[in-house]
Amino acid sequence: MADNYIDLPLHNLPGSRIFGFLVGALIYAAVTLLSIAAISDTIVRYFESQPALLTVALPPALPTPEALAQTDKIVDLLRDVEGVVFVSALEPQRTRRLIDPLVGGSDIGLAVPRLLDIGFSAGNKLELAAIKDQLLELTPGLALGDTVMPGGEILPLASSSRMLSLIGGGASLVLTFIATGLAIGIAMARHADSVGLLRQMGATDGYIARQFEHYALVQGLKGAAFGFALGAATMATGLLIFGATTTQTITTFGLQPLDWVFLALIPALVGLLIVPVARLVAHWQLRSLEA
């Protein structure tokens, strides 16, 4: 067979370009959604790498050597707890500055609470009740504050966004291949007479299928390249605008070079898989036609 020769230039027919535009739209959706997934993932990873904060308040005491020794003992005990990243005792002067507005700024020699900041990895669940019991044995009257998770409300939002956009991007890619199958099926139905003629001349199913594979590849690659370019431009513009209009250092959470590489692989992936999909559908359809 004369390889690579196309007798049915299907892409020249009116209406045939719709398939290319459809692929372009789906790839655009895939690129933007997967970009959002990548950004969300960066945000999630960033905050998950940051420690959660817990404040422990020891009963108020004047800075006597005994009180300081007691504080050191508790600090040492907390540092030994698994998952704890750091423990730091706030300077009494700083604590005083925090409570001064509450007591009217009068330095009357009041004992101030001894505050400890405990940092632990966000992914590590501390057994707070057990820790509290242990600490209470050493220092009755000790209180644990609320746990402050890194990123606040952003973390669950980013986590959901990552999952949803990943599903959406993957679905767009799957839809691209489903659309390819449908387009080949429709093209073969529209060109049934031409297919019959080629068969009448003794063409093999492989030869006929190749015409449709070529059509799918040309239109698919054009659409995928267009969709990628538009998606990449959208994301780049969006990141620039967001970076310019917010105080947040958006570049920290923007697309990394490796993300761009992966996104650029999408059109290549489409080109790689669209041919076997088209071949499969064409052969399946040809088998259903009487030889």
Binding site: M1, A2, L8, D193, L197, Q200, M201, G202
Partner: protein, 280 residues
């Protein structure tokens, strides 16, 4: 079993289709066709029906010898096109048996059907040209399907188109040329592979007398070199003065085959194959 097409195409590719002595022509060597002893086509008690309508063909018995030239005649709707469809493997009979090149077409494998089809050139009544490719590419189509090299394809297509007076239409698309020219393109496409059997359905219906004569001379030339030709026509002018068998058909039934094909006895035997050639 059929011989693979590749065994006969080697010789075919070196032979020009265009009769000697014409513009752009090259010499035509005597083409030896080796067939099995069976006729090229044999129909036994064949019935063909489209859906629930009355049979387009009924109880047809026909034997087409290799190397013969037959006119298929009859009024419109008689069943000529249906008969050609059976002979070109476009349809399967509802009843009876069609043997082509010694193979029962109904039970032939996909590969055998493909090989048979590669040996048949069909001129369709409606031409069936692909509208979105040029006249040149339409003619080249069968060669490209057979895998003939592109250089040889271009040479052969240019040659046949020039001979048929289509040299100026090479770049044109079917919708940009006249009906008669489209018919010539369809004929060129049917004969370009130098098939063993040519089935032509009213191949001169849309061309003037001069071109009709030229087409007939092409068919006759191919026939003299061993190609079997079945030509459906209404044209008495075309049949006049030509002593070829008439296969007459009416209302789906074969009325007569007359006069019989005049075949000379085999010239030589080669294994089980017989060489056939037309007298005169």
């Amino acid at each position: 079993m059929l011989q693979p097409k590749s065994e006969i195409t080697i010789e075919q590719r070196s032979v020009s289709l265009v009769p000697a002595g014409n513009a752009g022509s090259t010499t035509i060597g005597a083409r030896e066709l080796t067939f099995q002893d069976a006729p090229i086509a044999r129909l036994r008690d064949v019935t063909l029906r489209y859906g629930l309508r009355r049979p387009a063909l009924q109880g047809v018995d026909l034997r087409i010898e290799a190397g013969s030239f037959q006119f298929l005649v009859g009024p419109s709707g008689a069943g000529k096109t249906s008969l050609l469809r059976l002979l070109s493997l476009s349809h399967r009979p509802n009843q009876g048996r069609v043997d082509l090149f010694g193979v029962d077409a109904a039970h032939a494998s996909a590969s055998e059907r493909r090989t048979i089809r590669q040996r048949i050139g069909v001129v369709y009544q409606g031409f069936r040209l692909l509208d979105h490719i040029s006249a040149f590419d339409n003619v080249a189509l069968p060669l490209r399907i057979l895998g003939v090299e592109e250089v040889a394809t271009r040479t052969r297509v240019a040659e046949i188109m020039a001979w048929l007076g289509l040299a100026d239409l090479i770049e044109k698309f079917p919708e940009d040329i006249s009906t008669g020219e489209r018919q010539l393109v369809a004929v060129a496409r049917a004969v370009i592979t130098r098939p063993q059997l040519i089935l032509a359905d009213e191949p001169t219906s849309s061309v003037d007398d001069a071109r009709a004569d030229r087409l007939m001379s092409l068919f006759e030339h191919l026939n003299r070199s061993g190609v079997t030709v079945v030509l459906a026509t209404h044209s008495r002018r075309l049949m006049a003065g030509r002593n070829y068998p008439l296969v007459e058909i009416a209302k789906g039934r074969l009325l007569a085959v007359q006069p019989p094909a005049r075949l000379i006895p085999p010239l030589a035997m080669s294994g089980s194959a017989t060489r056939l050639a037309l007298a005169g």
